[in-house]
């Protein structure tokens, strides 16, 4: 799918983790409805890059732009346009799925209301619609810690959707899930990208899944420049660049 309208971009982005460069001069454009996979071995800096893209870590040099605005100086109204999904779901276990999703609406409340957790009826309705979107409506009233891993990740995605994001950054969202649930979560993220026009950036370990899922892949390797290419052009040479070995395609674990 061709990227239409860039929502997330980096310009000459440089980020080091300690002394080690993660990205050097990265220019990246992610469009509306586009799925970008971050691929690379452990230690390549995928999580650091995601934290940098979300504004949780400042760049050492260069810029991260969300809808044209520097992520460093995003106000509350723009910051809510970036949603993050985590490997460990990061739900509050002892409250309901619905209340977890409502947390995604906090960025839309006046600060005093947010501090008291006083949501408007439209926020509650929207939270239910987000749970419906991820197939979890019937479990809205259940405590998050009684849900399976796959269900929890769906609730976390519903919470992300409640932010009405332009971008969802997913950091290893399927690493804690079995293959069936993992594939279902990736399908859901892609479907959200396609139908809602959200740009999805997702770090993954599984090469074959990434190639099948993504429109584009950013291959990251320790101490090497990142490579950015369409998923269908990912081949054994690219893999060798990232992982240092050439896999037999079709037999990659």
């Amino acid at each position: 799918m061709a990227a239409q309208g860039v929502v997330l971009a980096t310009r000459a982005l440089c980020k080091r983790l300690g002394e080690r460069p993660i990205v050097q001069g990265l220019n990246l454009d992610v469009g509306r409805g586009e799925c970008l996979a971050l691929l690379g071995p452990s230690g390549a800096g995928k999580t650091t890059l995601i934290r940098c893209l979300s504004g949780q870590l400042p760049p050492d040099d260069g810029q991260v732009l969300l809808e044209g605005h520097n992520v460093d100086v995003l106000g509350r109204s723009r910051r809510r346009r970036v949603a993050v999904v985590f490997q460990q779901f990061n739900l509050v276990g002892r409250i309901s799925a619905l209340d977890n999703v409502l947390a995604g609406r906090l960025g839309y409340l006046p600060v005093w209301r947010a501090m008291l957790g006083r949501f408007e009826p439209c926020d509650r309705l929207q939270a239910l619609q987000c749970l419906e979107r991820v197939g979890m409506l019937e479990h809205a009233g259940r405590r998050a810690d009684t849900l399976s891993g796959g269900q929890q990740q769906r609730v976390a995605i519903a919470r992300a959707l409640a932010q009405q994001p332009a971008v969802i950054l997913a950091d290893e969202p399927i690493a804690s899930l079995d293959p069936v649930n993992g594939a279902a979560v990736l399908d859901l993220l892609r479907d959200i990208a396609r139908t809602e026009g959200v740009a999805v950036v997702c770090s993954l370990h599984q090469l074959e899944l990434a190639v099948a899922w993504a429109d584009r892949i950013l291959g990251m390797a320790p101490n090497r420049p990142a490579i950015d290419l369409p998923a269908h052009r990912f081949d054994a040479d690219t893999s060798a660049h990232i992982y240092g070995w050439k896999p037999e395609f079709g037999g990659i674990a």
Binding site: L98, L116, G117, R118, F119, P121, R124, L125, L128, Q129, E132, L137, E138, H139, A140, G141
Partner: protein
């Protein structure tokens, strides 16, 4: 006896929630309703919503939210988990479109000619406004626990309602069909009237159809209430 104002519980006492909800469930569920006991679904929803709201102190939600959210578990418990949010909203909104018991509007008009009458309710203000307009119920005021921030049966809810009505509790007659409400009103100093509503819960019948203490009045309908109050006053 001095009765200078009356306050009416509204949800269960004035409104036929059971009948309204059953009809709406039937309309939304269509053919699927055939295999279900919709009376049971309606009552289950009511119980779950009441459990959420009764006794709340400054909650971050109101009865609308309690209705909306308790509907989720209710539908799941009755094999209706796949209803969409749109269908759920259609069910939820029936609360804004309920009918009052037919004997209420005439009694209200007659009582108001003698004394102020207010709705004193756990339902949201907007909801009572909606059903009041729909059923041509003219109150002197609506006092929602949502406004007070303290829900029945907490004593401060009753004390505050009396203060807002501008009278000492002993000059106000609290009218309801539920013992928990009247017990609390009595404890707060109100005079009390128990109105039997045998159909409130549909065929199942009310959990407590009879008074559990000595109230000022015990009546079988609003017409009887009107007569007794207006003659003893």
């Amino acid at each position: 006896m001095t009765i200078r104002a009356l306050s009416f519980d509204t949800g269960g006492t004035v409104l036929d929630w059971h009948g309204g909800i059953v009809a709406r469930l039937a309309a939304v569920c269509g053919k699927r309703a055939a295999g279900l006991d919709l009376h049971q679904v309606a009552n289950d929803w009511r119980r779950r919503a009441m459990k959420r709201i009764v006794g709340q102190v400054h909650p971050a939600f109101n009865m609308d939210d309690a209705h909306r959210e308790s509907l989720v578990d209710t539908l799941s418990a009755h094999g209706l988990a796949d209803l969409s949010v749109t269908q759920r909203e259609a069910i939820w909104s029936v609360w804004y479109q309920l009918d009052a018991w037919p004997d209420f509007a005439p009694a209200l008009a007659a009582l108001r000619s003698a004394a102020p009458v207010v709705s004193f309710t756990m339902l949201p203000t907007a909801l009572v406004m909606s059903v009041s307009r729909r059923n041509a119920l003219d109150w002197d005021a609506i006092v929602s626990c949502e406004m007070i921030g303290m829900y029945k049966p907490h004593a401060p809810a009753y004390i505050t309602a009396a203060r807002w009505i501008g009278l000492p509790p002993q000059d106000i007659l609290m009218v309801a069909c539920h013992n928990f409400d009247l017990n609390a009103a009595h404890a707060a100093g109100f005079k009390t009237a128990f109105v039997r509503r045998p159909d409130e819960w549909g065929p199942e019948g009310p959990p407590e159809p009879e008074p559990n203490m000595d109230y000022t009045f015990v009546v079988s309908g609003f017409d009887e209430l009107r007569k007794q109050v207006l003659t003893t006053r």
